[in-house]
């Protein structure tokens, strides 16, 4: 991790380019592998793309949800606090698989027939809601860690509460919250595999299908595991570099 500390901008750049090249070109090396991997190379590559897309979309929405609910938990309005508490309590207290199934099977009953969600959207919504609840506590802890004097200085200079939050509190809270948020993101990469239960063809589902056709679980699941490891490594490099960027000006 030392390299990412010394060159955070390069590390972020390299991780992002690496991730893109990996997703784009994954099928080429895989297609050279012997059966059962080679013939299914395109499926693996497509599965990895779906996994990354699920992670990125629900991860981004999850951070926004986490910031909103984290702020809401610190609100001076009891109703807002209550709603946010309820959200976190509900999500943390029920299994992710149940949440995914609920969004997929139960939510369509509330929606008009003209407005039905794709399987992928259902998975993305459930995952975003789930990670958002876990992010809430990280963000809340981060906000509480910002010294009161920073807020007083910003307010005394005439910054509005919103400007004060965006310019001072949020960036400083992220320094504290980011390690925990990165942890949640790494979990999300893997938790996205639960979307297989609602027939989203992501990486784990591809592996399951390929081994079901070939009866060779060992090479198939090893390949899937290696792809997951490469993806989580890229994501953690990205977040570690981001952490170093945000860490500027802090006592060490």
């Amino acid at each position: 991790m030392n390299w990412t500390k010394q060159h955070p901008a390069w590390a972020m750049f390299a991780a992002m380019i690496g991730l893109l090249v990996f997703l784009w070109g994954l099928a080429i090396p895989l297609s050279l592998a012997p059966a059962p991997i080679g013939p299914a190379a395109q499926q693996f590559a497509e599965g990895a793309r779906v996994t990354v897309l699920l992670t990125l979309i629900s991860g981004t929405v999850g951070v926004v949800l986490g910031v909103l609910a984290g702020l809401g938990k610190l609100s001076s309005f009891r109703l807002i606090r209550w709603v946010c508490d309820f959200y976190v309590w509900l999500i943390r207290g029920t299994p992710l698989l149940l949440q995914i199934l609920f969004v997929w099977l139960a939510v369509p009953q509330f929606l008009p027939d003209s407005m039905q969600l794709s399987d992928f959207s259902c998975a993305a919504i459930a995952l975003a809601l789930n990670i958002g609840a876990y992010n809430t506590e990280c963000v809340r802890a981060g906000i509480l860690a910002v010294p009161q004097g920073q807020v007083e200085a910003a307010r005394a200079l005439g910054l509005s509460p919103f400007q004060c939050f965006m310019d001072i509190v949020l960036p400083q809270s992220m320094r504290v919250a980011l390690p925990a948020l990165a942890n949640n993101l790494a979990s999300l990469v893997k938790d996205s595999s639960l979307a297989y239960a609602i027939s989203v063809v992501e990486l784990t589902m591809v592996g399951y299908r390929v081994q079901a056709e070939s009866y060779q679980p060992i090479p198939v699941f090893v390949t899937v595991a290696v792809i997951y490891l490469i993806l989580t490594t890229a994501f953690t490099t990205l977040t570690a570099a981001l952490e170093t960027q945000l860490d500027v000006g802090r006592k060490r």
């Binding site: 200085a153 307010r155 005394a156 200079l157 509005s160 310019d167 000006g249 006592k251």
Partner: protein
């Protein structure tokens, strides 16, 4: 330094403030004129910092009224924003924005609040940093500076908003002794520019030399309000005499 026709800029009438059962401010009334440099002294817990913090509503007063530059200080956010634009504050613990470089610390408020263009705000901030002797530190982060340097940046940051009034809340109390003077030098220069200053301080030498007026707080009230010379040579109240006897070794 007081002009011939003094124009009041801060008018506090019967201001009271409680923290639970503790009476931090007890019916405090005072008027501060434009260009006046006032030193506010007193034992700790006497309400002097609380009084200063009510003047830009970092603490809300429970009763009484405060007017700054003719604007009533109350829950009306428009009034509050208008007042905070005119009143700068320098804190005991500097409170520089730790995640921003020095230059950004100074230029942030002019850009956000005064809607100044970035280049313009940065040029102005550089000029202010030069004035406090820190031009070459502009691209460092607060943690890389000494306490005295940080406090000088904090003064530049407050000045960047062109305030009419500057509030100093024990600006040298958190500094190592050898850094006190560099901050006092900047403040001394400021005092001669005609800006209105209210300085809560334990620096008796500074109060005596630079201030036009001296206010002594005790138990939430203003006990003495006089010229510094009068106060230091001939205090009226026993409590002020006792306080001076305690701090006299300081000058």
């Amino acid at each position: 330094m007081t002009p011939d026709n003094p124009k009041p800029i801060i008018v506090a009438r019967n201001v009271s403030k409680h923290f639970g059962a503790f009476r931090a401010l007890n019916d405090v009334s005072a008027t501060f004129n434009e260009g006046q440099v006032t030193a506010i002294i007193g034992p700790s817990g006497s309400g002097k910092s609380t009084f200063l913090r009510t003047l830009n509503r970092l603490e809300a007063h429970d009763s009484g009224s405060i007017q700054v530059d003719g604007i009533e200080l109350n829950d009306n956010l428009k009034n509050l924003d208008a007042i905070r634009r005119e009143v700068g504050m320098v804190f005991q613990s500097f409170n520089l924005f730790s995640h921003l470089p020095i230059l950004r610390n100074v230029s942030l408020a002019p850009i956000r609040v005064r809607k100044m263009k970035r280049e313009e705000a940065e040029a102005k901030s550089m000029a202010l940093l030069e004035r406090v002797g820190l031009k070459d530190q502009a691209h460092k982060y607060p943690v890389q500076l000494s306490g005295g340097q940080q406090q000088r940046v904090a003064i530049a940051r407050a000045l960047a908003m062109d305030p009419k009034v500057l509030l100093f809340d024990e600006p040298t109390s958190a500094l190592d002794p050898e850094m006190v003077n560099e901050v006092l030098t900047v403040m001394r220069e400021l005092a001669h520019t005609g800006i209105t200053m209210l300085v809560v301080t334990h620096e008796m030498g500074f109060a005596r030399e630079v201030a036009d007026r001296l206010i002594f707080f005790d138990q939430g009230s203003i006990l003495e309000d006089s010229a510094p010379q009068t106060f230091f040579t001939n205090p009226e109240h026993e409590r002020a005499k006792a306080f001076l006897a305690q701090v006299r070794h300081g000058f």
